[in-house]
Amino acid sequence: MNKILLIIKREYLVRVRNKTFILSTILTPLLFAGLITAVTFISIKKVDQEKIAVIDNSGMLEGKIENTKALTFEFPKGVDSTNYIQKGYTALLYTPGGNVQGYKLISKKQFGMVAEGQLEDKINETLENQLLKSKYNVDLKELEAERKKAGSVSIDQTYQEGSEVKKGNSKLAYGIGYGCGFLIYITLLIYGNMVMRGVSEEKTNRIAEVIISSVKPFQLMIGKIIGIGAVGLTQFFIWIILLVGLMTAATAVLSKDTLKQAQESTQQMPGGSMQAASGATGGFDAISETLGQANWVLIIGCFLFYFLFGYLFYASLFAAVGSTVNEDAQDAQSLQLPITMPIIVSIIIMINAITNPSGTLATWASLIPFCSPIVMMARIPFGVPGTVPYWQLILSMVLLVAGFLFTTWLSAKIYRTGILMYGKKAGWKEMWKWAFRSN
């Protein structure tokens, strides 16, 4: 036991003191925060004013079109396509045949998507406005005001959990579930690979033989796996602290107005994806409000459990593969595939399952140890025991722990033979034989 501790300590310290670890641990959240800040600031930056000269033959626009932040409309006399630049306009808008559908824009530069979108919206709005007014005698402004008074529809979800009625928020659950599943997916791959490289490095360095003359192969393997797992937990811990710190700092520095402004300007952007993004990022107040609704203790607790045991489940398999690798890194790639495949399949199932967290696929996949860490983590934010009954959660955890014990037992046998086997390229068939040999 004492020796395993020594090995864990070495594996942990060597990695934590590594410059790349320190840099990536500190830089990743900073980069993340920097990116968000940069996007925010760019979006609230003052948009260039475009002065547009309009030759309005139809008379539909003059005096009726409103200026926007980015666009100013003027109706000068004696301006045509040859002299609008000299007169200080950036663009000329005209209707060639007096046809209101076919507006033409001449400018000295290509208009951006935002400006073009705004221009189209503005013209449409003006024309629509006039149409409504002339045909139905409706003032759009009044209509808008009425609509605001009435308020638009949004579904207020509540659900029953035991005797308690809880306020639901499927969007939030979706976000958290997706984030957790993805984080586990990435960490499984990163730390699994770290274990594999560590083992194959020990083998090719020939240090394995020296160590194994002092400790049992299993001790070396489990020590490495636990040491690297501890590195992963440390990294998460630092990230959480840094992110919380940065969030606090950001909300302190950025005033509410700036945030609102940022929100508005993102909403002004055209395109569905942008709208969705602003829906998710926008409403800072709403987010911090709804974040409080999630059961954080349960989510973080389960996350740590599924990260840890998911990692342990896969890490020993990665160690087994690492032990069979010789100098050729190419071998590792092909041997690694059967292990990375289930992880990749899990993320595909997860993306599917999160849209229907109580479905058959989601339920089954969250029980099977190969994919349960990723899929179950995507379901938990939807509510326990609402979406995930207790028996499913417990069964999933028990199966994962059992799975981890099984893969560790299996890998230890492969590892024990592989780590001392040189020169020969081991295939899956061989590893299978090593695993089920009697001694």
Partner: protein, 310 residues
């Protein structure tokens, strides 16, 4: 007292009998040579002694008790043929780590490391990394980490490969000193001149079987061919005797093979009678190299894969 006894050890792999019924014993404090051509089964044998492999059959008696790989490995220091150290780890920390894996406490380990580093002039290496060392330097470090915990049994697989003569001598002196202090040393190599120089007792294995076992002198005697070298001031033009035959004739020297039933005195008597002045007369014992080659020759030098029916 015998520190280590191997009794009918067997280890079969799927396609070959790596170790096939080998027994021998090693005296405490002796330097023991385990010889054999490539692929003879030396490494497998050593790995069983170090507790890395379990024998299929037979038993190992260590220190008068049945070998217990879990605890007895603390009394063994093993330096494998292929050196292995963590390249990116600092040398001091590495030595400390390996010593502690052998069960030394931190203070004990530090004390011993300081002693050895000072002794071999390695004090300035502490904060360097192994990747900064030359091959010979890392060899020295590997040797230190092997003997640091004062093992009763030290197993050195080709300890001099890659060392220059000065450093090789340094290590050789340390080996002698360790043996004098009571450590038993198993020395595995195929460099015969080193074996003659260092070892008290040798065992030769080939194709998984023991083919020779004895002291260096004993084996040389066993394989001597009754050859003598006679140095004469003036070689007679014709040498003819019933007692011996001349096998080689060179400048001022004759190599003679004594026939059965005669002794070296008969050779001397002949030359005295011939009135030749004898300047030197000595027996030519075969070198271990010759014995080795003679024993191994004729067998297939590379191992053939065969189906094992165990």
């Amino acid at each position: 007292m015998q520190l280590l006894q191997l009794r009918n050890l067997k280890k079969y792999y799927a396609t070959q009998k790596a170790v096939d019924d080998i027994s021998f014993s090693i005296e405490q404090g002796s330097i023991f040579g385990l010889l054999g051509p490539n692929g003879a089964g030396k490494t497998t044998l050593l790995r069983m002694i170090t507790g890395i492999f379990y024998p299929d059959e037979g038993e190992i008696i260590f220190n008068d008790k049945k070998f217990d790989p879990l605890n007895d490995t603390l009394f063994i220091g093993y330096m494998p043929e292929e050196r292995g150290l963590y390249k990116k780890m600092k040398i001091g920390e590495q030595a400390l780590y390996l010593a502690r894996l052998k069960g030394l406490s931190k203070n004990e380990a530090m004390e011993k490391i300081k002693y050895w580093f000072t002794k071999l002039g390695m004090e300035s290496w502490w904060n360097k990394k192994v990747e900064d060392l030359s091959k010979g330097m890392s060899q020295k470090l590997q040797f230190v980490t092997t003997v640091l915990h004062e093992p009763k049994l030290i197993i050195l697989d080709e300890p001099f490969s890659g060392l220059d003569p000065v450093n090789a001598n340094l290590i050789k002196d340390e080996i002698f000193e360790l043996a004098r202090k009571g450590s038993t040393i198993i020395f595995s190599t195929h460099r015969m001149e080193q074996v003659e120089e260092i070892c008290d007792h040798i065992v030769l294995v080939n194709q998984g079987k023991k083919i020779l076992d004895g002291t260096v002198q004993g084996i040389k005697q066993q394989f001597k061919e009754n050859l003598f070298r006679v140095q004469l001031s003036d070689i007679p033009s014709e040498v003819r005797s019933d007692a011996f035959e001349v096998t080689k004739h060179s400048e001022g020297q004759l190599t003679v093979k004594i026939n059965e039933g005669s002794t070296s005195n008969d050779v001397l008597r002949y030359f005295i009678n011939e009135n030749a002045t004898i300047e030197a007369f000595n027996e030519i014992l075969p070198s271990l190299n010759e014995v080795f080659i003679k024993q191994v020759e004729g067998t297939k030098t590379t191992r053939q894969f065969q189906k094992v029916v165990a």
